[in-house]
Symmetry: C2
DNA sequence: GTTCCCATGTAACCCGTTACATGATTTT
DNA sequence: AAAATCATGTAACGGGTTACATGGGAAC
């Protein structure tokens, strides 16, 4: 019986299924632009998964020579790969979700900080959230122009991030208001 | 120059500073009840950090014999440990935050699923979110009764989780409504 | 008398990261 | 001449996980 594979393997498999004929280099870029917000993958890891998928026979690699750029490997899913992807999608989701926030961890110990340190912690958090928000808005804008099922799925995951980010921005304001009361 | 320590080390250090005289076993329980929502720590890892902190001289361990239970080690921060904690809190936060969601990853590939598979994916997601919400509400309720700075900090981090969870619940409804339109 | 709570630990694994290497081609 | 893009890879590390071991006292 085969050992269970990490979700990351299926993430890369799904990407190749979505963008057939792409090189590893291109897949890294696509991953960074698409699901990086809820499933980040580093370049090294993606290449490792490419190896694994090829060994499993789930993707096939083709060498492509280029004139104005170095040669590259391109990938596409095999029938077995598409079946594996479908099986993974059909299986019950084990609710694998992880969240770690350095900001919240520090805020949890904020009673050991000077009040203005707490202020700048929140201010920094707000600006990262705002940057995130703009990025997500741009992504959704770009996807709104396309009316394919894949674009819609991407747009809705971006919306998930946007709603999350907006709620957290409101939280920052809520907390700042509450802390402001005590300082006066 | 000392290698940089992971945030987890400071998380445990902060916990001991917050709950002095606790045993490793108790700290595991406290960590699970307090910052597990944004900084989960497994039992094994926490014990490893306890070792590290003792070796650093940031916490001191005391053996305590018990009559009706096995002997235990209890921990409290040293002056050096408190200084290290303060230094960590004062340093600029490198925005270490990571988020990985198995649900979103699958939803991103939902165009390869049957419509009712998407439906149950969302339904499952909703119930985990609702369970999370109730847990956070209970936590906030319990902390609202206490009016110490540490309780307030804990309550506000719980509020962060609550706002996040609520936004995601609204996202589920938003998405379900949008998918419902197409099925009819 | 089995199961739960207290209490600490070992072993093994591997996912994911950072840093670095290489080399050609194209743009500035 | 330098920097950016394309393209793939190696090496080393470590943080975090799961599974398991142990053992006594308490509770049901």
């Amino acid at each position: 019986m085969a050992a269970e594979l990490p979700d990351t393997t299926y993430a890369v498999l799904g990407l190749i299924d979505k963008v057939p004929g792409a090189s590893g280099y291109e897949l890294v870029a696509v991953a960074g632009r698409s699901f990086a917000h809820f499933w980040p993958i580093s370049q090294t890891l993606l290449y490792r998964e490419l190896d694994r998928l090829a060994n499993l026979g789930w993707v096939a690699a083709t060498r492509v020579e280029q004139l104005h750029a170095p040669s590259k490997w391109t990938y596409h899913t095999t029938a077995a790969g598409q079946q594996a992807l479908a099986g993974w999608l059909a299986a019950p989701t084990p609710a694998t979700s992880s969240f770690r926030s350095g900001v919240l961890l520090r805020f949890f110990f904020s009673y050991r900080m000077h009040p203005d340190q707490v202020g700048s912690l929140l201010a920094d958090y707000r600006s990262t959230l705002q940057a995130q928000q703009e990025e997500l808005l741009m992504m959704m804008d770009k996807l709104a122009a396309v009316s394919t099922p894949t674009a819609r799925a991407g747009r809705l995951t971006a919306l998930h991030g946007l709603r999350t980010t907006q709620a957290r921005l409101r939280w920052v304001e809520e907390v700042e208001a509450q802390l402001g009361e005590d300082d006066s």
